[in-house]
């Protein structure tokens, strides 16, 4: 949906917006801007850059997950295993086999590709929640392998730091955090480009069709399995690359990425932003990653410590805050961050058209009903821009009440009986 609407916008404006955003992100390490309350230091301080780099990395990972979830409608609980793969294969080759960083990373990507092909072709034999559970099982198996398979190789639950000698000087040391930031930004750019390229291509369109109605795709003469596999492999490969970048950001491998919580986090980012909506997903991921890292700060802050005991206890638990945030976002931002602009626009015009906000909300409700567990991109579309002006002349089209039914009909497939 996304790109169709955006294609209707002048292409130049779109490209300009992307370029502008990219330039702004690129320039962050040169800025000494302070955002009190958001970051502890100026933008160019290493702590802030590191935080931002992690946010950008997660944005890329979330995009790769969204290719599966938001664009193809398959819910994987094993996405983290590819991140794990990229991270650990690289680390092990560097630390234990004496590879250079680049060859090791390439080998990691190769392993990721192979794993995606094999796991995908097996797991995609089942669908729906079955697929989710098979991938959960695979993820769990990898997690166990990492934690207790061969601690000498993987470092077990402690993970292991990357041999300092293998890391190029430009990527180590707090001084060089800006380079790590750019690395993460580059990764995000690659993910976004791949996603854009893929989703606007023919197979990308088929993937979305698979999400909408898999059976119907079959009846068009296409094999949905192949398209799901393509999505799975591309997403897996991107995630593997993300693992390598994460490794460099951390300076070591950590089994945290192998846990099911990690993948669940990706899912939350995507939904938080709005599945299938690229900007939304990026925003969701950045927000989540920021909150995940900064809530510990908030909960440890002096203002919380000053609260009376009954309040202070819970607020000093970052997970409590995170959990409450989820619930709040779900309630106050249905459809994810991506719907925020439409919402704001709607609330501006609310005086005139009291019903429009309700429309938006209805549409979302209805849309998610269609697709069960999978998020429905279409559902989160603000519909007002697609107002149709149907020719009265159309001999076959219910003459006389087009205007009344144009948006109305939009809801037809959407009534709960649907």
């Amino acid at each position: 949906m996304n790109h169709v609407r955006s294609l209707m916008r002048p292409a130049g404006r779109r490209a300009a917006a992307v370029l502008l955003a990219a330039a702004a992100l690129y320039a962050v390490p040169y800025s000494t801007l302070r955002l009190p309350g958001v970051f502890d230091g100026p933008l160019d301080s290493p702590g802030v850059l590191q935080l931002l780099a992690v946010c950008l990395l997660f944005a890329g990972l979330a995009l790769s997950y969204d290719l599966l979830f938001g664009h193809t409608g398959i819910m994987s609980f094993g996405h983290g295993l590819f991140v794990t793969g990229g991270m650990y294969v690289t680390t092990i080759l560097v630390n234990h086999a004496g590879y250079g960083l680049v060859p090791a990373a390439l080998a990691g990507l190769g392993v990721g590709l192979a794993a995606a092909l094999v796991l995908g072709s097996v797991a995609l034999r089942v669908d729906g929640i079955g697929f989710a559970m098979v991938t959960l099982a695979f993820g769990q198996a990898v997690s166990l392998l990492v934690v207790s398979g061969s601690p000498a190789l993987t470092g077990g639950e402690q993970g292991q730091t990357l041999n300092a000698g293998a890391v190029p000087a430009a990527l180590s040391g707090v001084r060089n955090t800006a380079n790590l930031y750019w690395l993460a930004l580059g990764y995000l750019a690659v993910c976004a480009a791949v996603l854009w390229w893929l989703t606007t291509s023919v197979p990308g369109r088929v993937m979305r069709a698979v999400k909408e109605n898999e059976r119907r795709v079959e009846v068009l003469g296409l094999n949905p399995y192949l398209f799901k596999l393509l999505a799975f492999v591309v997403a897996g490969l991107l995630a593997t690359g993300g693992g390598v970048v994460y490794l460099l950001l951390l300076g070591g491998a950590t089994p945290v990425v192998a846990g099911s919580d990690f993948t669940l986090g990706l899912l939350v980012m995507v939904v938080l932003g709005g599945a299938g909506r690229r900007w939304g997903v990026v925003a969701g991921a950045v927000l989540y990653a920021y909150a995940d890292q900064s809530l510990t700060r908030l909960s440890g802050s002096a203002s919380v410590a000053a609260l009376p005991g009954a309040l202070r206890g819970p607020l000093q638990q970052p997970l409590f805050l995170l959990g409450v945030c989820f619930v709040a976002v779900v309630f106050f931002l249905p459809g994810g961050l991506a719907t925020l602009p439409a919402r704001l626009r709607a609330s501006k015009t609310r005086v005139g058209h009291g019903v429009r906000t309700r429309n938006g909300r209805r549409a979302q409700r209805a849309g998610s009903r269609h697709s069960g567990l999978s998020a429905d991109a279409s559902a989160t579309q603000p519909r007002s821009p697609i107002r149709r002006s149907a020719p009265q002349a159309g001999p076959n089209v219910l003459p006389g009440h087009n205007a009344a039914s144009s948006t109305g009909a939009a809801e037809e497939g959407v009534t709960p009986h649907g």
Partner: protein, 289 residues
């Protein structure tokens, strides 16, 4: 021989624990299509509620008092969750999942804020703390209590769902709330009821998990949740007997695999799940469109 008996009996005890957690999950998922990630938190709350009672009133009496308290705590929390969080989101299943994920994070954190991260020890009455000798195998008494509780719960839920109208209402309501309402049925009440029931089962599971482990900690329920998910999926989502059989399979496989080799034990459940799912081709919920 006695090892075999011991492993079987304790494996079934483990299965009973899995079933206690999974049944509520399966109930809510099977009937209402809500994948409740907060279920583990319900279990933990039930556990803490029971522990608090047993901590004040010692011995068997304390246990007897803890039972209704745990069940009530689970049910009340679940009912509240349904009313305040799930109900406004009925038409947005994905957001429901997200909201329960949030609760699943927040509630254990809250428990930790109140009771601390350290496990709280549960002193069992003497008759429960010991073992029973069965053909030379020393089987902990608690395991029998668990198995009995699981069987009782299975029976009760089975009756409730198949023999009562309430079960019917809920199953129909999941598909089409408006139509059920148009038949003159207050479907919301039925939904709250199901959630409360699932929560009650979770509360019971919390109590029994406490007895089983001899202690409780904030993350207890959550760590059982992943096994419960596996059991629910293996048991074909929402079928109670299926859940029971799956629980037994997982419990026994895990127990014996652990005895044979630690490496096997770790992966056994995963292998079991993957194998079953792949052999059983079609999607579990899917009917041909």
């Amino acid at each position: 021989m006695s090892t075999l008996i011991l492993l079987t009996a304790t494996g079934l005890g483990l299965a009973a624990l899995y079933f206690l957690v999974a049944s509520g999950l399966s109930l809510i998922f099977g009937l209402m299509d809500v994948l409740n990630f907060a279920h583990g938190a319900f279990v933990a709350v039930g556990g803490y509620a029971a522990w608090t009672v047993a901590d004040h009133v010692a011995g068997t009496l304390g246990l007897a008092l803890a039972l209704p308290v745990a069940v009530a705590a689970g049910a009340a929390l679940a009912a509240l969750t349904e009313l305040l969080i799930i109900r406004p989101l009925y038409a947005r299943p994905l957001d429901q999942v997200l909201a329960t994920v949030g609760l699943g994070l927040a509630i254990p954190a809250l428990l930790q804020a109140v009771w601390g991260a350290d496990p709280r020890t549960w002193t069992l009455p003497a008759w429960l703390a010991g073992t029973l000798d069965v053909l030379g195998a020393r089987i902990p008494t608690v395991r029998f209590v668990l198995i009995a509780a699981a069987l009782a719960l299975l029976g009760a839920l089975q009756l409730l769902l198949t023999r009562t109208r309430a079960g019917l209402i809920v199953r129909a309501g999941v598909e089409n709330r408006e139509m059920v309402a148009a038949l003159g049925v207050d479907v919301h009440r039925a939904f709250t009821g199901v959630f409360a029931l699932g929560g009650a089962a979770a509360g019971l599971a919390g109590l029994l998990d406490g007895l089983y482990q001899g202690s409780i900690s904030p993350g207890d329920g959550t760590s059982l949740l992943i096994f419960a998910f596996v059991v629910v999926v293996l048991g074909r989502m929402g079928s109670l007997t299926g859940t029971a059989v799956a629980a037994a399979a997982v419990g026994l496989v895990q127990q014996f695999a652990n005895y044979l080799s630690a490496d096997l034990g770790d992966e056994s459940v995963v292998i079991l799940l993957a194998a079953v799912l792949l052999l059983r081709r079609r999607d579990l919920k899917g009917r041909p469109a």
